[in-house]
Symmetry: C2
Subunit: 335 residues, 2 copies
DNA sequence: TTTAGATACTAAACCGGTTTAGTGAATCCA
DNA sequence: TGGATTCACTAAACCGGTTTAGTATCTAAA
């Protein structure tokens, strides 16, 4: 038979309310009684039932993190996993269970509502911006349901954590400019995707601002071979760039390959910086200067905000938090 | 006020037991009544409370998946994420909530017990072999607690899903042999790690079996630069290998770089096959023939087994299931 | 001496379902 | 026609905690 709070109460010679108070530090219980009860709990190896606590208490010690995995899209996956782990590290310590759910399980909005809002299973939600439909959003807001959005969310009524891709581009261009590079190419990604387009636009602006002569946007899939081809084209053009900003590590690899093939030097002839959503820059040879996107930190921040919302009953101010990328400078840019 | 089963019962003019029976298809309820109740549920937008169902019913519709993430070890992370997603896809459909927990939250065995076994929060567990201590294992077995181990587990009393690394090596060596390659090198990984050592041992055996003349084991970290150096050494030795089996994609990249630098041809002069825990082989140029490790499938299988254990009260036969890798043959091996 | 307030507890309601045991009416069979 | 079954349904106990409202005892102030 499973141990219950009643067993402890009986053994300790107190009521179950007192045991509950000891467990939760809710009402003041004198040290002597408290110690007696705790001793019995230890002796009997008692752990309160989580489900019962959830049901009896108003709040559930459980939050959900929605992820969006497409099998075989490994950039995307690494991104979400890292966020998930960041969120987990915070929420676990804050005594929350983390429920995960993949987007593809939520084939329609009603299912989503049922699973996360109406059934009362979780008391908070972390959700990527692109999954949050208008219907769901307004429902959450209407119900005062605590949630944090991952990604760009302009609305003031909601809480969000975003990565400042533009700042990443600015930092990269600024570094290039300060080291005397004069013309830039952006390799990889597509203007049609949100994240690359943010980076590209910022790179264009930054080039104007920091006096980089020209800025070529070279869209292509983020594979080694596509970026290799793209870079070959650029190098054989009339005015080849002397600085390349890559959309991700594999683009960087392709660029490296093309540059070396022309017997050009990195960083002397061509400087390379890459966006780095997953920390693999150091696996490359030589290491690439990277705009480090701290996805783990993104998860951490989202979880902290959620936790804050969950604790303050009064409802805290809604904020949009930006994760500012940092440059990890290595040998692929002139000293 | 939150909608409860009582509201539905009242509105539909039946008892809450009847509503419960309709929800669960437990006792036979005539179509007419059933439809009436369902209609009320739809009209009122009622969804049963998950926590209450968990508490009232004997079993909890929730299982935990333990992951083991070290920040910045991206091979490792991708491995677990993929397993997690596989498990999620099965368990979500089977009406389970998936709780995740990272190993580093479980600083000691007692904490683990508390969180997953004693507090009754989950009714099943998926756990990597290296996290399962003897104490925890025997406790789980003693309590008849359903769990599935990811990885190698020799014991008959437990359920496990493992990747057959040896078969991977055999397949690779067999292919090399059949295409006329004569001497092999294994690049990457370390004999001290479980997975690489399994692969290396199998490769050694397979070479004997398939008539590959020599088999050099070249241990090194799985980075581009380390494997590049390793491969350079091999190529400048007196008897360079004409076939290379790589421990992972980045080793393969290093090997590629070294081979091309010597102006040798892949696959004519040197054939390359790589183990591929995460599906990025196609990002490389040219694509590498890969021993595909289906980690997603691993998660799926583990979840299926767990689900089976959870459903059959009688306790099912304990099995060890092996995930057999497949070869994805591309241009890096002679046709 | 009375009383207001604090202290140390507890009984009982409650959370929102599931499940058991049982009831009244209709049907079946001999 | 009466007893046994089946049918359709329900009352009430239960899951294991939390929380509210309240009680008995003691202390301190009026």
């Amino acid at each position: 038979m499973k141990l219950t709070i009643n067993d402890i109460a009986r053994k300790a010679g107190v009521s179950k309310s007192t045991v509950s108070n000891v467990i939760n530090n809710y009402l003041w219980v004198p040290e002597s009684t408290k110690e007696k009860v705790l001793q019995v709990m230890r002796d009997m190896n008692y752990v309160p039932d989580k489900t019962a606590r959830n049901l009896a208490g108003k709040k559930r010690h459980q939050v959900a993190v929605i992820i969006d995995t497409e099998q075989n899209n490994y950039f995307n996956d690494a991104f979400f996993y890292s966020i998930l782990c960041g969120a987990e590290s915070v929420l676990s310590s804050a005594d929350f269970d983390i429920s995960i759910c993949n987007r593809n399980q939520l084939t329609n909005e009603m299912l989503f509502m049922d699973r996360f809002i109406l059934n009362g299973g979780v008391s908070g939600l972390i959700i990527p911006a692109h999954i949050l439909t208008e219907t769901i959003k307004s429902r959450l807001v209407k119900d005062l349901f605590p949630f944090v959005v991952i990604g760009d969310s302009k609305e003031s009524s909601i809480m969000s954590v975003n990565i400042s891709n533009s700042v990443g581009s600015y930092l990269a261009v600024e570094l290039f400019a300060s080291k005397g590079y004069r013309s830039l190419a952006y390799v990889g990604g597509s203007f049609n995707e949100i994240i690359p387009s943010e980076r590209m636009n910022a790179a264009l602006k930054a080039c104007g601002q920091y006096g980089i002569r020209s800025c070529i946007i070279k869209e292509c899939p983020d594979t080694v071979s596509d970026s290799y081809n793209a870079m070959c084209e650029l190098l054989s053009s009339s005015e080849p760039p002397d600085a390349v900003l890559c959309n991700d590590n594999f683009s960087a690899l392709g660029v490296y390959t093309a540059v070396r093939e022309k017997s050009l030097s990195i960083p002397d002839d061509v400087g390379v910086i890459t966006f780095n959503t997953i920390p693999i820059a150091s696996y490359l040879n030589p290491p690439v200067t990277a705009v480090k996107i701290d996805t783990f930190g993104l998860g951490v921040k989202a979880a902290l905000l959620l936790n804050e919302m969950l604790l303050s009953a009064s409802g805290i101010e809604h904020i949009h938090h930006d994760i500012i990328p940092e440059l990890e400078i290595t040998g692929s840019v002139r000293m």
